[in-house]
């Protein structure tokens, strides 16, 4: 039996964390995600499930607390917004390197710098291209509704423990702050300490009892060992691409033009393709749900069917690079997006599709082809 509620995205995520059987949350306030820790502090999950909630002295401390709890096999998460995630990146790199399961939530705001507190998708590069130092990737889930803010928490924990790797839920200020109805899942019981020791005793540091000691570290001073570690990580990422890619195709079957968008941009773009179809333009939407792994092959194949692709993002053009890499010059690819916390309207998206792809983009594409033939 699931429970229907009207909630903010941030609150739905916090409630979902309790219900997913999380053992701990460590965070630090920052707009527009402070409702996560506020909700948890008010809800007192320690009384409901025994889940620990602690306000850390900084985002840096919070992510290292996550590292500590994750070292012991506990189900642990943290949340922040863009500048705070920048601070967490060292810790996230350590979590990836030490191969620990953890969930990190970024309710993105506009940047760079202190930027703005309004919604943005300007942390795409940071999220999927590493962000922190070293050869690692994050499994990145991009919710596009309050429902997904709730659902993705359990999904994220499942992936984190499947691969012993950090998972990022990449939301934004729009999804975090807006209220929608949400079906909340039933409570999953937290694992007992004995269950954790039994389940994760092969690696977790829970005290050396009836086994050899366990060590959690990301340090390998011997280059050959470090390379082996990197190869192990790369294998995980390959497996993620094979087994855990997620995307949604909307009105793609007969589409002549394609919009690629994730998160709140996908919500707006969905409306834009509906408006396009009313005008007789056969537009479709590909919504990557995971940003890593990315639906490269899907896009490569769709490129045989459509005449042009518009990447719609709340940034100055980031995901468009991955769209281009996937499409491999089969059709023109353009970017459209507002920045600084401004959210584009469906009408603006449609206009961009018409101007950049249907009209200009198409022509420009043929011109370059001709000139390259000459």
């Amino acid at each position: 039996m699931s429970e229907l509620k009207l909630m903010k995205g941030n609150e739905a995520l916090a409630e979902a964390a309790i219900r997913a059987g999380a053992d701990a949350y460590f965070g630090y306030p920052i707009t527009p995600q402070s409702e996560v820790i506020e909700y948890l502090m008010t809800e007192q999950p320690e009384k409901r499930t025994g889940m620990v909630v602690l306000q850390a002295e900084s985002e840096i401390a919070a992510i290292n607390m996550v590292y500590g709890a994750a070292s012991t096999g506990k189900k642990v998460l943290t949340s922040s917004s863009s500048p705070g995630i920048s601070l967490k990146l060292e810790g996230i790199s350590y979590i990836a390197g030490a191969e620990l399961p953890a969930v990190i939530v970024n309710v993105v705001r506009g940047g760079p710098g202190l930027g703005t507190i309004q919604p943005s998708q300007a942390d795409y590069f940071q999220s999927v291209k590493g962000g922190g130092h070293g050869d690692y990737k994050l499994y990145v889930l991009a919710p596009a509704s309050v429902q997904e803010m709730s659902d993705f928490v359990e999904d994220a924990f499942n992936i984190a423990f499947k691969y012993r790797a950090p998972v990022l839920i990449l939301s934004d200020g729009l999804i975090g702050q807006m209220m929608e109805k949400v079906y909340l899942k039933d409570q999953i019981p937290r694992l007992t300490n004995d269950e954790i020791i039994k389940k994760y005793g092969s690696w977790a540091v829970t005290g050396r009892k009836n086994r050899d000691r366990n060590i959690i570290t990301s340090l390998d001073l011997q280059s050959e060992k470090m390379e082996a570690r990197v190869h192990r990580l790369m294998k995980k990422y390959e497996q993620m691409e094979k087994e855990d890619l997620r995307y949604e195709k909307i009105l793609c079957d007969d589409a002549e033009y394609l919009i690629v968008a994730y998160g709140s941009s996908a919500r707006i773009s969905q409306k834009a393709i509906e408006l396009a179809r009313k005008k007789g333009i056969k537009a479709g939407l590909l919504r990557p749900i995971t940003l890593f792994p990315y639906p490269k092959q899907v896009l490569f194949e769709l490129a045989d069917q459509v005449k042009g692709i518009l990447s719609v993002e709340l940034n100055a053009g980031q995901m468009v690079e991955d769209v281009k890499l996937s499409v491999q010059h089969k059709v023109p690819v353009e970017h459209f997006g507002r920045t600084g916390g401004i959210i584009h309207t469906p009408e603006e998206v449609l206009e961009a599709l018409e101007q950049k792809i249907i009209k200009n983009g198409h022509l420009r594409y043929h011109k370059t082809r001709e000139s390259s033939i000459l």
Partner: protein, 258 residues
């Protein structure tokens, strides 16, 4: 005569704790880290708490502490060990959790994590080895480097006006209500090592009794970084380090010593 005819179990008066691995220590000969490691492991062994102890290693010379301490350990990012230990102690309140950190780790980059873990009164033990220098990276100035002391980044000696005074982190945290036990020890002689061991034992007892945070500073030498022989460095430590960082209890059972 075989060696086993001489060394018989009934004649044994002392042996290395089994909680130290047989891995050769990576510390420079003469360094105090080995003794500090050994004392910590002896206490855990003698208290019979190995199965419930989780250690947190720092970044610095003792980054590889887990190569030598034969217990479950996790290695923290530079300065973040108190945050890592906080989460372990909060999610496993029945465990003994300790950090083992150097002066650069604890008193420079990790100042915020140290102060706040102390202020929250986390039920953990912090073992703080202060040798007044960054040993691992090759002898740079630390927050605890003494006035006039030469290091690779204070080649003309630490100048207070431009580089600040050596930081007395231990006195600082002793003033926080959450901190239950604060002491400053050394391990350079048998006498001092025995006292340090008692302090470490008291700290782990405090964890058992859930008294809050215990903070043990061990003033130690860095003969390589100080460019001295081991013996010279110990004499220099007694004559200079102990003046600025005097040994003894600073706070016992939650009460500051006058």
């Amino acid at each position: 005569m075989d060696i086993l005819d001489i060394i018989k179990p009934e004649n044994q008066v002392f042996c290395k704790t089994k909680l130290m691995t047989d891995t050769a220590l990576s510390y420079c000969p003469g360094c105090g880290h080995g003794t500090a490691h050994n004392l910590t492991m002896e206490v855990i062994d003698e208290m019979g708490i190995m199965e419930d102890t989780i250690g947190v290693a720092p970044v610095g010379c003792s980054v590889l502490a887990y190569d030598f301490m034969n217990i479950d350990m996790t290695q923290a990012a530079h300065g973040r060990a108190p945050a890592v230990a906080t989460a372990i102690a909060r999610t496993w309140p029945e465990k003994y959790v300790f950090t083992y950190q150097g002066d650069g780790d604890l008193a420079a980059i990790g100042t915020a994590e140290t102060i706040h873990a102390c202020n929250r009164g986390e039920n953990i033990v912090i073992i703080f080895v202060n040798n007044g220098i960054y040993g691992m990276t090759g002898g740079q100035m630390a927050p605890t480097t003494l006035e006039g002391m030469i290091s690779s980044t204070s080649p003309y000696g630490r100048e207070i006006k431009s580089m600040g005074s050596p930081l007395k982190m231990t006195e600082l945290v002793a003033n926080l209500p959450g901190v239950y036990y604060v002491t400053r020890q050394s391990v350079h002689t048998h006498k001092h090592a025995r006292k340090a061991k008692k302090a470490i034992q008291k700290a782990f007892e405090n964890t058992r009794l859930k008294k809050g945070l215990s903070f043990i500073e061990i003033v130690s030498n860095c003969n390589s970084g100080w460019k001295m022989t081991p013996n010279e460095s110990n004499i220099w430590m007694e004559e200079n380090m102990f003046k600025y960082f005097p040994l003894g209890d600073i706070k016992v059972d939650g009460i500051l010593k006058q």
